[in-house]
């Protein structure tokens, strides 16, 4: 896979560091102070720099030595970007409307957490993005959506696998059970990443991840980076599992709408197959994630209860932000007279 096109000083610094010295060390030049980043959650330069550094832990890049993954200087740079990002996520979560008062929910911390996760994800219904895709999107807009989501779906589920060795007992077993399903249940042709790639191919779209990263909004990259932030830092394992629960519990209904949008546009069956799979699979996964994973995790480690809820809230808030940016883009392109004014993600 090739490196992405830099779009500012931070991503330029990272890419230059990765290609400059084949054997490292890989010093990232500090060309832009973190204090100059006004909104880290939509700042494309910051999110692209972070995404590029995270990718070293997944599949890496052509021409970049695998040793770069643990290059101390790159880790230092990643940590600085992560601090800025995590701080912004925590602020966004603090500003999110609090979940309903929960009252007495049971005696165990896990009762409180499973009830809160259910409460914060229930009744939300399909998102505005899903409704738009269902009823209004043109084929071009639908494909544009797939292109944004490709950054996530071509790596779907991989971040959560980093959490497996970091949790134990019943929660570990349940996470493995969920991941087994995500990874095709023993059948390579049912690997969810592959289902998505097949949908892209059916539309004559590329399956090259970098080409989608090059087009992705800052907020889209942030929603993907959020997962890596949680999954690659052991201290945030509770947040990673809360993220998984919120993600799965808010997936089936939107996937149903997107499926109907694909049918309305008469897209190839491979596109519908991806979303059909997720309607049913994610109805299972939400139960596994909320009860069998998060519930068991908090039973084993009660101190993680707040982290689990933080991760879930962060998932909904950051993914919501990415959705708003997409919707705004569609709206402004449909009413060009108003211009593409305030998109900070450029």
């Amino acid at each position: 896979m090739r490196l992405p096109e830099p779009c500012g000083p931070l991503s330029e610094g990272v890419v230059r560091a990765l290609v400059a010295q084949p054997d490292g060390p890989h010093a990232v030049s500090e060309t832009r102070a973190m204090g100059d980043v006004s909104d880290p959650l939509t700042d494309r330069d910051l999110q692209l720099a972070l995404w590029t550094l995270y990718e070293l832990h997944y599949r890496g890049f052509d021409g970049v030595p695998p040793e770069a993954e643990w290059d101390p200087l790159l880790i230092v740079s990643r940590a600085a970007l992560e601090r800025t990002f995590e701080h912004a996520v925590r602020q966004l979560v603090a500003d999110s409307p609090p979940a309903d008062e929960l009252g007495h929910l049971g005696d165990r911390p896990s009762d409180r957490v499973t009830a809160a996760l259910t409460r914060m994800t229930v009744g939300s219904g399909p998102s505005e993005v899903a409704k738009f895709l269902h009823r209004r999107a043109t084929r071009e807009e639908f494909c544009g959506y797939l292109g944004q989501r490709a950054v996530h779906h071509l790596r779907e589920s991989d971040p959560y696998s980093f959490v497996l060795p970091r949790i134990g007992d019943a929660a570990k077993v349940a996470l493995a059970e969920l991941q087994y399903d995500e990874y095709g249940g023993g059948r390579p042709d049912r690997l969810h990443q592959e289902l998505f790639a097949r949908a892209l191919r059916s539309l004559d779209m590329s399956t090259d991840l970098t080409s989608y990263v090059d087009e992705a909004e800052g907020a889209t990259l942030a929603s993907v980076n959020l997962l890596s932030l949680f999954a690659l830092n052991r201290r945030l394992r509770g947040a990673a599992m809360g993220h998984l629960a919120a993600f799965e519990a808010t997936s089936s209904l939107p996937c149903e709408r997107i499926l109907r949008g694909a049918q309305r546009l008469e897209l190839p069956p491979e596109v519908g197959d991806y979303y059909e799979e997720h309607v049913v699979a994610d109805a299972v996964h939400e139960q596994l994630a909320i009860r069998s994973i998060c519930g068991a995790l908090v039973d084993a480690e009660p101190d993680l209860a707040d982290d689990v809820l933080f991760g879930a809230t962060a998932c909904l808030a950051v993914d919501g932000l990415a959705g708003e940016v997409l919707l705004d883009g569609w709206r402004s392109r449909r009413t060009p007279s108003r211009g593409r004014d305030v998109r900070a993600a450029g």
Binding site: T118, G123, G185, S252, L253, V279, V280, A283
Partner: protein, 81 residues
């Protein structure tokens, strides 16, 4: 596989999670096969993909326009709100 254990887990306000099932028999005798290691069975009758849960119990708007007449919902789950 022959000694596989089948288990059923009740999810409050949601479906039944069934592990180890090969097929589900519906009220009219219809057999639905599955090769998933764990499946979620609808208990509220609002699913469009019976016998599977499709998370319709989460969708407030669908509650009032339940079109289902197959008599599949005798075991109503508590309303999840």
């Amino acid at each position: 596989m022959s000694a596989r254990r089948v288990s059923v887990t009740e999810c409050p306000g949601g479906p039944l999670l069934v592990r180890g099932a090969d097929e589900i028999e519906g009220p009219d005798g219809t057999i639905t096969a599955t090769d998933r290691s764990v499946v979620a069975l609808c208990r509220c009758g609002r699913s469009d993909r019976l016998p599977w849960c499709d998370a319709s119990h989460r969708d407030r708007k669908r509650r009032s326009k339940n079109r289902r007449t197959e008599g599949d919902g005798e075991d109503r789950a508590p309303e999840a709100t």
